[in-house]
Symmetry: C2
Subunit: 275 residues, 2 copies
Amino acid sequence: MAFTHRRVRRVRQLVAKRAMRRSEGVLVAEGADVIGAAVAAGAPVESLYWAPEAAGMPAVSALVDAVIDAGGRAYPLAPGVMERVADTVTPQPVIAVIGHEMAGLDALDGATLVLVLDEVRDPGNAGTLIRAADAAGATAVVCTAGTVDPTNPKAVRASAGSIFHLPVVEGVPSDDVVEVLAEHGLPTAVTVARGGEDYAAVDWRGPTAVVVGNEAHGITAGIERQADRRVSIPMPGAAESLNVALAAGIVLFEIARQRRVVTGPEESSDLAPRP
Amino acid sequence: MAFTHRRVRRVRQLVAKRAMRRSEGVLVAEGADVIGAAVAAGAPVESLYWAPEAAGMPAVSALVDAVIDAGGRAYPLAPGVMERVADTVTPQPVIAVIGHEMAGLDALDGATLVLVLDEVRDPGNAGTLIRAADAAGATAVVCTAGTVDPTNPKAVRASAGSIFHLPVVEGVPSDDVVEVLAEHGLPTAVTVARGGEDYAAVDWRGPTAVVVGNEAHGITAGIERQADRRVSIPMPGAAESLNVALAAGIVLFEIARQRRVVTGPEESSDLAPRP
């Protein structure tokens, strides 16, 4: 029981402390969907904990089996313990400690599409952005030094497992990131609320990095000054702006669209509007 | 003081009760940004309440002036009162009761782009979807009967004021919505995670309604059966799906892109990838 107590305390600390996650090379994922995505992606689930109410759930039973088969451990928690461990007011019935290493800059070697998060502060946005980058086929994600930790449990949850699908580089200073990307053959396009080129009028078929900025303040000045291009999404309606995840998704999927038309199997489906 | 107490109790009830919001023809908006967007849109702010910590904020002072100029009332709250009224754990320092009527079906007359929320359950998603529809120039939003209330304070906040920009119709039964849209000249396209036409290969220049479904279960069977077309967003990466707001935004802005190319001022910017 004391043994379990020590384990639970460690999970709680891992939920709260970025430095401890890094030093141990793990992150904490909450919920059967995200943990299932980690298992499917081959991520090493070190330990799994489930609350009493999860005992009868087929999804949780399947997870327990999968984790043990892969060499991990699984522990039931006493009533009320999950509430003290988890990050949320209404915790998921299952939580896992999963091995996860941040990527080095070599993840950018040969990259053709990179999403850069510049001082994004909300962990939910960070996770949603990683999910969008993954869905759009990005090679990697880069977080500047002022960006929220992408292994924050809220970010992991919002990524819906995408954090296990593609390399995420962190801690690149905003003032250096354009140069770092250029060294890897990636010109940098920043998204700005207004005044940039129409994002849909850009030829996106070559390698590129796309930068999205802070929810309130946008891109940092250094990046905007050094970037190769500034793009905006024309908004025909009355809304003043788009949220950062939506803006990134729209640009990333325009890039995917253009690359699909040119290189995909369905060459005949010319996606320009027909006259 | 008893008078203030009655007012505060009413606001708290309006935060919680959809039926009361409807019967009084109001909604509750939290935060200077959203309330400011309501004022800018000409929405009638009936009453504004601010917490003591908001007293020195220029944005709040400007709001108070604007509300009073427009014939509304503004009340300071005693310390700790906002925490009892607001919807969130960390409440915004300012909250307002704003006149707001749901639209009737005549809002669909002459519509060229309508977004339909079919059993969307999360109020944050509903608000983000309304914001995306507004930004993309949609004429109206339709919520099926099983969709979360778009005047839920969380939805209002996530809409970033867009709820004041375009008409929102609610309560249309899922089984009837395709027919209702058709009567207004709007063919219906449903978004499905996979198996539909490539959304970018569709000619979107004519009037259309786009339907997004429940976060977990997608579009209801009746709508999917009756719809004129099913579209999907090809995902070159490993992510299994996109969140509903992102999927809607990608489709809506592809529609805006196609219409801009054909009818916009910059006819020369052919948005097909150049050879």
